[in-house]
Amino acid sequence: MITIIGITLKGIFRDRVFQGIIALSVLFLFIPSAASLSMRQVTELSITLSLSLISFILLLLSVFLGATSLWRDMERRYTFSVLSLPIGRSSYLLGRFMGLTLFLILTSTFLGVLACVMIKVSSSIYPSDRPIVWSLLVLTLLFTTLKYILLVGVALLLSTVSTSFFLPIFGTICAFLASGVTQQVYEFVYSPSAEKLVSPLIKMLVTALYYFLPNLSGFDLKVNAIYGIPANFTGLGVTVAYFVAYTAILLGGAAILFNRREMK
């Protein structure tokens, strides 16, 4: 499995899509000047921009790499040569997942360092009255990374059943978009004001979807990082537990489906 992780990383680093997406990180260089346009709150803005940019790059990477890695193995018929080696399909899948995870961690570390340098530059040019809480920034980055690792799990699960890249890519994007709103929709449906508007059937449907779809709202600590608000550690603990459980279920499901998959 270690070798599969290695192969996955090599594959990503030698891939054009990766190189293109990483080229986006050049945008970081513009953050100080872009942030300075706001005149006030330069530091806050540079933090916001950095975190959003990192989030965006990680989203692209996790959707495209997650959705295409298994799909491409099958499409290009690499699976015939690789899955006929004495590698179990579950280990292969897990190796792929770990490789992608490791890659996301490396990327977010790299981008995180880049972002910190830029934030430092911005704040030294236009000092802010609020001190930057670096530990919160790191925590935010950590949870952002976890969020996208979970998304890779969604992409892998979808690609084990799909014969085209359409379902994994768009399915993952949809899951991502939905994951941002499920919390709000759920809370709305159960709020007193919605009592008369929402039929019980829809209520049930929303509840089912709420538990079925990933809920990624807990992973967003941007506000804490920007305004230096201390994090709620019990909440974070719950989020980590949710991450572990949800990812494990995703991978377990993916392994079952991949084991049954026929290589035609």
Partner: protein
């Protein structure tokens, strides 16, 4: 224990509009250790389907297959096999050397041994010069050579090759024949599919002919060639020194020899005239 056992193997595919395609209809076959077995059949006969089932890439509809006694559904069944897929494709962002080493490590080979074996097989397959280049830039025949190299690197006892000669130039084809004969000498089992009858005649111990998902004949190559004898060409020289070539029917050889001797003709050469494997194959498939 047989190297390969296939018992009542059936495979149905669902085609367009849910039509059922019976690719394999109850295949039974055993291939012994140390045997070179040629799996002969026209396009669409079910050769690749059988091989994919054997390697656990497909799941049988009914029946089962075993390699070295272990059922194909288990990962363990593949620990002693070198497999070459049909028109193989390998991670094209790796070089041949990286890929061969990757394969060797999957079989748990120790690093030093792997390095020497990798060099050996790459040189043997004439890929040594190209070993550092990414496979993306390889020609079809070069990829096929990588495919053969990766079956050889870990020195397994069983080889399953789906059309090993396809895409290769005459030199490459001769090389593959040599390799198979070499493996035979080492007592390895080679199971390979092909539609080229000539390959079978040269290297196989036994042949199976498959068509429409059914195994039609399984027999040894010597038997088939023996059975195919149709007659003889006999070169005689008369007392006056005149050479004559005669065609003699299968059952008339004894009679012809006696008569020649009575006529004081000396017999210079007798050659059997036989139908070759190709004619045999065409006859079986047409039936």
């Amino acid at each position: 224990m047989n190297a390969i056992e296939i018992i009542g193997l059936c495979k149905n595919f669902t085609g367009k509009r849910m039509t059922k395609i019976e690719a394999l209809k109850g295949l039974n076959l055993e291939v012994a250790r140390g045997e070179v077995f040629g799996f002969l059949g026209p396009n669409g006969a079910g050769k690749s389907t059988t091989i994919k089932l054997l390697m656990g890439l497909l799941k049988p509809t009914t029946g089962l297959s075993r390699i070295m006694g272990v059922e194909s559904s288990q990962t363990l069944s593949r620990t002693n096999v070198g497999f070459l897929p049909e028109n193989p494709a390998f991670y094209d962002y790796l070089s041949a050397e990286e890929y061969i080493k990757f394969v060797g490590s999957q079989f748990g080979m120790e690093a030093n041994l792997l390095a020497t074996r990798t060099e050996e097989v790459l040189k043997r397959m004439d890929l040594w010069e190209a070993r550092k280049r990414h496979m993306r830039g390889y020609s079809k025949g070069m990829v096929q050579r990588v495919g053969l190299a990766q079956t050889l690197v870990h020195d397994p006892d069983v080889y399953v090759l789906d059309e090993p000669m396809s895409g290769l130039d005459p030199i490459g084809r001769a090389l593959v024949k040599d390799i198979i004969l070499d493996l035979k000498k080492q007592g390895k089992c080679v199971f390979f599919s092909t539609h080229i009858t000539d390959d079978v005649e040269k290297v196989c111990d036994r042949v199976g002919v498959i068509n429409n998902g059914q195994l039609l004949v399984v027999d040894s190559v010597t038997n088939i060639l023996q059975r195919g004898i149709e007659g003889y060409s006999v070169l005689t020289i008369s007392p006056e020194g005149v050479q004559e070539e005669n065609y003699v029917g299968k059952d008339e050889l004894q009679f012809f020899i006696q008569r020649s001797l009575q006529n004081n003709q000396s017999i210079e050469k007798i050659e059997s005239r036989s139908k070759d494997m190709e004619a045999f194959f065409l006859e079986i498939v047409a039936r």
